[in-house]
Assembly symmetry: C2
Homo-oligomer: 312 residues x 2
């Protein structure tokens, strides 16, 4: 993997997202500086490196010249001379804007400024910047060292050249990028996930099925197909030789009638109680932490299979 | 795999779903009779057997004593002496009701009567039956010889004992079953799929992203995780030590605000045109048939990994 065109990267914030980014960049071979004044920042980075190394080794994304992230207390020293800044601060606008002012005061004028925000729109984030054109959202899937997808979203002031540079930056590192043509709260992944979960909650809240059975409908009925085909491709392939046109012709009205029947649940007290109790039951005594370890081990195997450059 | 408790099975209809069921049952070692008067029924069954055999071999579900389905023109001769009937006729109520009358006239009184319907409710299907208590919906994921999940749905008149027997019937054959506690149009899988696709269509129709990029958000950002964790478990695992309760506490309001922002697209002429054109582009010159072959080969590898009794 050639990384010699990639300069040093600064990561702002060593929370769950920031530490995962720092581990990913360092283990992919980039020089990394992390800005976080919290006393436990170093411990969190170290823990994340330990989790990320075997995962990236298994996936083949571990560099043969990995680096070690350098921790800085201040943004100013962290961003001096970097080629790119990955901001991963809490989802609070004033906090992010204050950080951007520190970036603008100390980073090279042509450094990419990429926010990991899942909830704030890039047009909002770039308000008040001296160089709003270099800001974009680059939203990872969690954990960033494992999941290949990065969603790139420009705001009204983002330049097309900056989006191109950001896309090239991540792709050299082995990431897959999708680019939104127009910003939307939650981008693509979180919106699609929220849409599916809304119906899942409806089915549980209305007593159609248990949390465990709804989850199994996804893991055993839908998940494998969705590693291979997206939602449009699935229907394209069920439309015969005419593809999507054939599907819409024959089944469009049925789909619209299903859409009309989907639920619009609220997360009220009764629904929350039901979700918590049934999730407890579905966990069958396993802690969330134990389940997360099972998930990670299993996902690594699946990811190894479905990587676009893997066994295809 | 022990199948000696399983009597002969009749499959009504040799369309895509019925032929896949027939191939599955026969290759799992059951005696199978298919009722279909169409002149090309035998050819369709033969073609399905050819597709199903290598898939079931790869998954380890191929019996060492596979059978060959016998084709019957009439339902009466097909269902005589069977232990179970898998109805897979077109989604037309009068057609199914007529078939059920033929079943009631000729099948053993204790034979299970299972409809593959995805769109009709079991309470509706059992109206007018002499023995409505033995009818349930057993809805497969397509293709039935490959996908493990079967959704079991009873109607108002279905007996609990019949649901238990149906569950045991499929589980002996290596299927995974989920049981709805209350019927719903589209059951679980199709409703969840429809919910996700509705938001996918919204994102494309409103110009936020292309068909190709929305599909990649699913295949590269969500699919692998959904082979391991269902939608509830994902949030349970992101809630820290408190699990779902912690997630709802911290992120419930954000999720509700995302739900409020999800789209409600229509499949109008402009949207259909956009979907067809962009799907054409995303196909990059591959025919739906070639894409379906790629999908099947790839899914077999993923399914082999994620089977509950596989590498776990």
């Amino acid at each position: 993997m050639s990384t010699d065109v990639q300069g040093p990267v600064a990561v702002l914030g060593a929370g769950t997202i920031g530490a995962a980014w720092a581990a990913f960049f360092a283990l992919a071979g980039l020089e990394v500086r992390v800005a976080d004044p919290a006393p436990d920042a170093q411990a969190r980075i170290d823990a994340m490196l330990e989790r990320a190394r075997p995962a990236m080794q298994a996936l083949g994304t571990l560099s043969d010249r990995p680096t070690v992230p350098q921790l800085h207390r201040d943004i100013g020293t962290a961003v001096a001379g970097v080629a790119a800044i990955q901001e991963a601060l809490p989802e609070q606008l004033p906090l992010k804007q204050q950080a951007y002012r520190a970036v603008e005061a100390a980073a090279p004028a042509d450094a990419l400024l990429m926010s990991s925000s899942s909830g704030l729109m890039p047009t909002l984030l770039q308000q008040g910047l001296a160089q709003p054109e270099r800001l974009l959202i680059a939203h990872p899937c969690n954990p960033a060292y494992l999941m290949p997808l990065v969603e790139l979203v420009g705001g009204q002031a983002t330049s097309a050249a900056v989006l191109d540079r950001a896309e090239a930056f991540y792709r050299v590192l082995g990431k897959q990028t999708v680019r939104l043509q127009r910003e939307a709260t939650g981008h693509l992944v979180n919106r699609l996930q929220a849409a599916l979960w809304r119906e899942a909650v409806h089915l549980v809240a209305e007593g159609h099925a248990s949390v465990a059975d709804v989850d199994r409908a996804v893991t055993e009925g839908l998940g494998a197909r969705w590693t291979v085909c997206g939602p449009h491709a699935i229907f394209h392939l069920s439309g015969g030789a005419e593809g999507m046109a054939g599907f819409l012709q024959r089944l469009g009205p049925a789909v619209e009638s299903w859409w009309a029947d989907l639920g619009q649940p609220r997360l009220d007290a009764a629904t929350r109680e039901r979700l918590v109790a049934q999730m407890q039951q579905a966990s069958a005594g396993r802690s969330p932490e134990a389940m997360a370890r099972e998930r990670d081990a299993h996902m690594l195997r699946v990811m190894g299979l479905v990587r676009p450059d893997g066994a295809g």
